[in-house]
Amino acid sequence: MAELLRVEGLEAGYGPVPVLHGIDLALEEGGIATLLGANGAGKTTTLRAVCGMVKTRGAIRFRGEGIEKRSTEDIARMGIAHVPDGRGTFTDLSTEENLRLGGYVRADRAAVAQSMEQMYAYFPKLAERRRQQAGTLSGGEQQMLAVARALMSKPRLLLLDEPSFGLAPLIVAGIFEILRTINREERVAILLVEQNAAMALDLADHAFLLETGRIVMSGPAARMREDETVRRSYLGY
């Protein structure tokens, strides 16, 4: 399968504080990879670096094209959709307006309308809340909205930052189920950052383990799950 994303020697940080010290990772077209690691390891920063939200050094190639110097807007238009931590909801706008914004860069209005119906099919809860102000949605609904908004742009790559954060286990399971469906049906690749390592390894086919800004281990998700260190430190048994 063709390679979708390749990151080489990626360094990034906030002001004078370096966070990433040379990250290498790759993701195939239609694949699901997960970034595991403790708090502060640099998982979120890696996602932010990929879509140009922090200053970086090193190479980031998306579908063979270097994007490390591109602006966030341009990267979004190239087909990378980012569901940020905190969900990035437009709280004052309605659910439907949030979704419409997700499709903002697509020229074909009819196709956007079709995508919106598709999203309401994936997330029936959102259809019920169509006209409701997005800030008044529950945490789980807002997470669904964030994923749906990202998918509205018909991305090739979905960056997901802790979709389980602050949600009840049952809702998390539902969201992960939909992610699996979306990956299969829309052929969108996923790069997932997740605290819940067990669920992430279940969903992903490849995993990278981050420790203080470095990748210390990587491999197929099934093999990572068997690994002694991963099991003890991140799966907790």
Binding site: C51, M53, S71, T72, E73, A76, R77, A81, H82, P84, G88, T89, F90, T91, D92, L93, E97, R100, L101, G102, Y104, V105, R149, A150, S153
Partner: protein, 290 residues
């Protein structure tokens, strides 16, 4: 009673102009979260452009729309060239740039057109419409134009994808970038719209107060009061605030303190609103966790 009605109606007419300027203030506040002190001078400069066009022999309405277009472009250029480089700086540095812009526009207008007062034509007939003698045709026309501006702005923000994108960019710039909205250009567009609205206000007020480089000074103060009264983050509030301030100013001026002290009404209103209800009538109270 008749005098009272006349005062209310003429208050509504000037109120429409305050409403327009207040609306322009709110537009820029949405984009930058700051109050543009140069808004009045921008409107004044636009009015001089209209005056030049009319003097060059252009028919009034052609000059009117051309001035709006030029002002829009001017607003975009001001944002791109002057505001953008300092935007990331401290609040104080942006405010100083606003004040610099005010002084420069005022001085340049005086330099080009001189500080002598000029008459400015009204597009509306001199005799009152519909046989009423409470309100001049110009007053009525100014109200109608204000309402038209408000209505088209509302439709633009409510129904067009670009309007939605501008709202999104003002509300959550980081998320707006993630969906591919060019936030910088949305801000420039906000400035362009504000400048265009200001131009309309300037052309509507100039036949009443006459054209000179300082004509907007008092009006800007009333517009501040209107925007604060309505809530600085609410376009709807700015319009309502404008009409309220216009009527209040007239009534207080006529019946309470006399016309010479009218401007203090604005000042008292500003201070009053800030003390009693800082978020204004229609504004949102921002609660922030620290």
């Amino acid at each position: 009673m008749e005098a009272f009605l006349a005062q209310v109606l003429s208050g509504l007419a000037t109120g429409g102009i305050y409403a327009s300027v207040a609306l322009a203030l709110v537009m820029i506040h949405q984009a930058t979260h700051l109050v543009n002190f140069a808004q009045g001078e921008m409107a004044m400069f636009s009015t001089y452009i209209a005056w030049s066009l009319i003097h060059a022999g252009m028919p009034y309405w052609a000059a009117f729309f051309l001035t709006i277009a030029i002002s829009f472009a001017g607003g975009v250029v001001i944002e791109r060239v002057i505001i953008r480089p300092v935007e990331k700086g401290s609040v104080l540095s942006v405010v100083v740039v606003f004040i610099g812009l005010l002084v420069i526009l005022n001085a340049v207008a005086g330099w080009i057109y001189s500080f002598t007062v000029k008459p400015f034509p009204s597009p509306f007939p001199a005799e009152p419409l519909f046989g009423n003698h409470y309100l001049s045709s110009h007053g009525l026309g100014a109200i109608a134009i204000t309402l038209m501006v408000v209505l088209s702005l509302w439709a633009f923000f409510r129904f067009t994808p670009l309007g939605l994108a501008m709202r999104a960019a003002a509300q959550n710039p980081a998320s707006a970038r993630l969906v591919g909205i060019r936030v910088g250009w949305m801000k420039a567009l906000g400035w362009g719209l504000a400048a265009a609205i200001g131009a309309i206000a300037g052309m509507m007020v100039a036949p009443i107060v006459y054209l000179d480089p300082n004509m907007m000074a008092g009006i800007l103060l009333y517009a501040f009061a209107a925007a604060l009264l309505g809530g600085i983050d609410s376009p709807f509030g700015a319009v309502v605030g404008g009409f309220i301030v216009g009527v209040l100013e007239n009534l207080v001026g006529t019946y309470v303190i006399g016309n010479e002290l009218k401007l203090t009404v604005a000042l008292v209103l500003i201070i009053g609103v800030l003390i009693v209800k800082p978020s204004g009538l229609f504004g949102r109270t921002v609660v922030q966790r620290v």
